[in-house]
Amino acid sequence: MPKKVVVIGGGIAGIQACLDIADMGYEVHLVERTPSIGGRMAQLDKTFPTNDCSMCILSPKMIMCAGHENIKLHTYSEVEGVSGEFPRLKVRIREKARHIALNRCTGCGDCITKCPVKVPNEFEEGLSIRKAIYLPFPQAVPRKVTIDAEHCRMITEKKCGVCKKVCQAGAIDYEQKDSLIDIDAAAIVVATGFDLFDASALRQYGLGSCKDVVTSLQLERILSAAGPTSGHLLRPSDKKEPRKLAFIQCVGSRDAKMLPYCSSVCCMYATKESILVREHVPDIESTIFYMDMRATGKGFQEFVNRAEKQYSVRYLRSRPASLQAAHGESGVLVTYELVGGTTEQRTEEFDMVVLCPGLVPSSGSEALCALLRIELDKDRFVKMPNWKHPIDSSRKGILVCGFAGEPMDIPDSVAQASGVAARISELLQAVA
Amino acid sequence: MTEFKPTILAFCCNWCSYAGADLAGVSRLQMPTNVHVVRVMCSASVKPEYVMKAISQGIDGVLVLGCHIGDCHYMTGNHRTAKRIPVVQKILKDVGIDEKRVRLDWVSAAEGEKFQKVITEFVDEVAKLGPNPLREVAF
């Protein structure tokens, strides 16, 4: 019987780890908390520095993962308990009730059209609404709907039942219960990724109080053809095309009081977004407020140079002191100081401002690590204490890849994810 | 008078020049719309007959793009291409067709910019030559 591995987190790191571990002949169980695999990368419009379409390169991997003979997907599921030691770990997975018979649902979407309940759409970063019965995004894998039990009227109030009426496949099951699955795993991979730091906690940045201040992830969705504005760059206040845009780096990060570390990817994605917006609105002017321009990867500095020269992006070394709504509801006033020995403050008006918040370990990862009995570093990322084995956690047989261990970009996450497969193979060979 | 837009066929090898063309795309390098890429595994598989056929049927220009000499995925394939295409050019010249209508060049997988340059130059060059004189014969 093949040895089993549990991978926690279905973003690009988890997906790649699954594919490589499975290709080595091990049986892999991928546990993803949301209804679809894909993770953060699925939300991105394009990727730096080639501006390759994110979904286009991710989607084939998602599908390969779902179709692989050695991979079993547990979406809408969470790890609930872990016992034993390497190589005999027991992992308990809770498959949350979707209230859908997966083997019946065809993903046709008839139920979604008819569902009367509207809920803010998480995948669209709250910029649009979804229904209580939903497919998280068009390219979701598996392509099965999920009922959000918290908002479904039939489940909360026993009133409605429309989806059941329209579902010709008979897939709706309001009575469905969570199910528990135990896996005898030889090893576990933590690939739980990141969340955005909640920038509304820093009131000076105006997120929530100024309508035209958005997060970088919201901008990704706005730029995406499949996004809430069908790919039209419109600012939230009056749905007009902005002509003057500002990006603010290190929101909450590189800040001793908030997140002391650097999130590694923001300089580059802001550069990417500043190029992309110009492809949407050709005469748009973008300014990037930054502290250090960290363009350390392959082709990154050239990318920044291209943004500056070909796309007229203005890079301004300064950390703005405050953002306020301009006259009325639209536009944003940004107050900042110039470098060069002056203390002169300037206030400049922008049509729209994009915050690049620090990236933090994903919510719940701390509790998960406690369950796994692995240590965290002081920034709350998974600690990888062994110098020689930079992807090993503090506990044998539990490996880490991607952002869960340290801020890093997609290629570094993918390389690590493949590395995890080699490390598992090494460890299991030694006990074979 | 509307500007003459030549019709061009380009054979690109899978490993270098097709990848270079992809890179040009990924880099959003803009170029004229006249060139139609046909993917082949190696530039050495491009039969001289294909080039002759295209020209004799009125295609205004044919590009054959391969890996740089020494980089061929199939070891020495492009050495053969380098010998064959000049022969094709000579035959064309002998029958009164400007040999500049056929061009052989090397574009690596890393040379998106070179792909753009080759395409742009070749389109200009063929546009200057005007329509393939065999066009009228062909139709």
Partner: protein, 561 residues
Amino acid sequence: MPRIGVFICHCGHNIASTVSVEEVAKFAATLPGVVIADHNLYSCSEEGLNSIRKSIEQNKLDRVVVAACTPRTHEPLFRSVCEQAGVNKYLFEFVNIREHCSWIHAKEPSSATEKAKRLVAMGVSKAALLEPQTEGESNVIPAALVIGGGLAGLRATASLAAQGIETHLIEKEPRLGGLLNDITTLAPYSESADTLLQELVDEVRGSKRAHIHLNSKLRGLTGFVGNFKATLDEAGKKKEIEIGAIIVATGANELQPEGEYGYGSVPGVVTQLEFERTLKRGEKPGDTVFIQCVGSRQPGREYCSRICCNTSLKNALKVLEAGGTATIIHRDIMSYGTVWEEMYRKASEKGVRFIRYTLNDIPHVRSHASGTAVDVFDETLGERIHLDANRVVLATPLISQKDSAEVGKLLKVPRDKHGFFLEAHVKLRPVEFATDGVFICGTARWPSSVRETLSQALGAAAKAAIPIKRGKVVIESITAWADPDKCAACGNCVASCPYEAIEILEQDGKRVAKVNETQCKGCGTCVAACPNDAMQQRGFTTRQLSAMIDSLVKHALEESP
């Protein structure tokens, strides 16, 4: 008559914002043999694939054309959908209307739409003539080759050996370890580089599966994934080894900044690596000034070498520990992530001085009665500053190895314009080459920290181990064959084949060319060499390619002369 289905992808707005996908689909429906032409927001999404699958079944399609992105990334996906729907995967044809059309003609939507139509017509004409194929399989030699005995190569070798795979490690120098030999401690936690190196060397030396070849270089390589034959020059002796997979870990070198900032003329001016060596010898550094981005991030060599700032931070802290003062003159401090940023903060707190310069006003280094002097304009303060130093450390970038071109040529793998090896896909295939069975890790690909190098080495080791563990590789059915009726046994194909895969044999009383399919790599050279049109390559037959030419003539010249 074939039953062809054409599926045009919007690719979000990557294609649809330039090319009128609806118009192309409408046009495709009129082409001979096409029974259905459809379009989809993302053909490669599960939804898109399902709709193709359904369409194949409903319309009883026997040929499938997808017009979308590039076959180099997406062909396997669409081929597998065809297979799932019962259509042989070689009856699929890919038309690239993104990289080769919408993306490069962004400002000419109507011309781009016309071109997309012609490309689709060419693809359909080829598809009509496609034939089903069966794939061969080949065994994999259960051994691997790692080129380069530095950190990356050592870790990759250790991993493969620990996974139970016979691994040959070749190193051109007489000792293992590469650049790590010259380094004192590893940032940020001050582990000794020697300890890490020694542990790795011991592990590799102690493994019965790892075979170390010092003073050795790769001289030749033939074969393909699963079945490579490498010729080595081991201390002057020729040696041949057979392996199933190869990892390139040839590392990088430090740029020598000849003539810059007083290097070579002003005493006390050294490179970072030279400085490491003095620290390793136990020399007291004294007051030290580090100048960042020497020879990088400027016209001519645009890139940032990723590791230099962090190395300077580490060494500046060492200087402080040894009682000297440390100043880092920089343009941006690249202390990305958690640990490097923490080191940056620690350096600031402990008294390392940071001065920011710009390319418009670079620092000047000169001799001075008591040592070396540096004059620099501090951009942040807006004033000129004079510094006295015992040492000036020039942080120069890592550059590609001198012999990387040679290695690249032998392995047939590409390098970027800086000479670093070019991976198969910068985002999602960072440790692979486009050539199956050949992998890349460490600074030969791009400057990377010790931790990153170790992770990548493991990644490459995983990729190399996969075909070996599976024991079999599938051979794509693009091999050549000879039509015995047309073959005149002239032998041109035999002479042209780079793989000696063709022989002239007696068959039914007639001498004809015969292709050995396990040896044929599908280059098609023999096809062009054949004067009788007897040689054909599967998936690229002369009929198929001629049909594409005819189609272009028809749609570009006849219909819009």
